[in-house]
Amino acid sequence: MLHLDFNDRLELFRLALPEGRALDQIRERAETVALAVLHAVPVLVRNVLSSADLEETVRYSADAMQTALGPDLATVATVAQNDTIRGVAVGPRAPFVSEAVYRAFWDAYFDLPRGHVAIEEIADENGGILGARSSMTVAVRRGDVLSGLLGVFWTTPRTFSRVEQEMSLAVAALGEIIFSKFEAT
């Protein structure tokens, strides 16, 4: 019989049992995502404050989401300017994102309110936009008017942690601040 203190027992539990390993992996995943998000936020703030125009800001926002959350398909950002929908995509499948995808994305989430996260899990094996099996989208609004959408897309069904959802909302909130900066100038 080993006389272990609590920390040793905890270590043994983590190492020796599948349940311990699973719980530890859940904890580790939460930490990894949180750290990635915390690294990405100051970079995003620096970039958007120095950006020259709205398009650059949108690209930086998409970059931050791609870096922090690492979707295996793409991060897609669309923005409405002078009645035109324009978009930016980053990530492994970005080259395949067409104008039609930006339009479909816009139409699909047009009603998404501020402060909400739309989470989609697609049962169909062909997937939804970009063939994604899961996605998370947030809206950037000026007053009641939708000015942009930001979505992250994965090839597999997955759940989204509270940190991931909050990161999306934080980026959308930063987007609104930056939109107002461009409006003011």
Binding site: F6, R9, L10, F13, R14, L17, P18, E19, G20, A22, L23, D24, I26, R27, A30, E31, V33, A34, L35, V37, L38, H39, V41, P42, V45, R46, L49, S161, R162, V163, E166, M167, L169, A170, A173, L174, I177, K181
Partner: protein, 306 residues
């Protein structure tokens, strides 16, 4: 709040969470026991007055005593069970992997510890993510360093929730100015800001200076302390300053400074230290990577806006 009141509060909180866990464990076990079909697990021909299996049958299947199983199902927090015991119950109840995880979480202190670590990590990350847009909204409309650092201190306090105070110390034209927020703000006088400044004067941009000290009495007027400030840069830790100092060195007023552990970040313009931000706790503690990264992120945002 005096120390005894604080301890009582902490104990009440933990008693409440133990009670909740006890109820959850009981509900979890009763539901799983009642959903089992007697025939499937090999009990045939016995008259049934209620659905599922009895406590005695589960104890028999698990190879544990009925008395132990009854105590376990009642969620008696004073009875410590082994990992082996919980595994036997999980097999007897035919739990799938996710259910086993849930049972482990509810029944074993080891699993609870891991779960609490995850929760703490998430909570801190959520707090800072919620604080940052508000911080940026305020920071970009002010122009002075004082205002920016004060806003940053607010955000740091909202994100890290130190139980002693959050302090911002700013140097303008060679004069130190201070701002503090938190439950023990009344103990923070000018000498504390000077002490904070002197101890962290060499802290580099991007590093976090931490003190993870031993417990001290609640009130320490004019006594001597050993302080070791460790600078953390990414994964690397090095001693920034190790010294003996007395509150006498700083006190022109009665100093009741009694923080035990702290975390600080510097804001520099070129080589010159312009401001320090610090979170202070009344108890010794180890800082998680998330907490360090949160402080670093807040300082980085101020630097960017500057």
């Amino acid at each position: 709040m005096v120390k005894s009141e604080r301890c009582r509060l902490v104990n009440q909180q933990s008693e409440a969470s133990v009670e909740q866990r006890r109820k959850d464990l009981k509900a979890f076990l009763v539901v799983r026991r009642r959903r089992l079909e007697a025939e499937v697990v090999g009990y045939r021909g016995r008259p049934r007055v209620r659905e599922g299996l009895s406590q005695g049958e589960i104890a028999e299947l698990a190879g544990v005593s009925l008395n132990w199983y009854e105590l376990f199902e009642s969620g008696r927090g004073d009875r410590r069970v082994s990992v082996d015991f919980v595994q036997r119950i999980a097999i007897a109840l035919r739990l799938d992997f996710d259910e086993r995880l849930e049972l482990f979480r509810l029944a074993l202190p080891e699993a609870q510890a891991l779960d609490e670590m995850r929760e703490r990590t998430e909570k801190t990350a959520l707090s800072v993510l919620r604080a940052i847009p508000g911080m940026l909204r305020r920071v970009i409309v002010v122009s002075s360093l004082d205002d920016m650092v004060t806003i940053a201190a607010d955000s740091m306090h909202a994100a890290l929730k130190p139980d002693y105070a959050t302090i911002a110390t700013i140097q303008t034209d060679g004069t130190l100015m201070g701002f503090a927020i938190g439950p023990r703000v009344q103990t923070i006088c000018n000498s504390v800001h000077r002490m904070f400044w002197d101890l962290h004067a060499d802290l580099a941009d991007g590093d976090v200076g931490i003190v993870e000290s031993e417990p001290r009495p609640e009130v320490l007027p004019r006594s001597e302390h050993n302080v070791q400030i460790v600078a953390v840069a990414d994964e690397h830790r090095s001693v920034l300053k190790s010294l003996k100092w007395t509150t006498d060195q700083y006190s022109e007023e009665e100093n009741e400074w009694a923080a035990c552990s702290s975390l600080a970040v510097a804001i520099r313009e070129g080589d010159a230290l312009r401001a320090l931000l610090g979170g202070f706790w009344s108890t010794p503690r180890k800082f998680s990577r998330i907490e360090l990264e949160t402080a670093r992120a807040i300082a980085a945002i101020v630097r960017v806006v500057l």
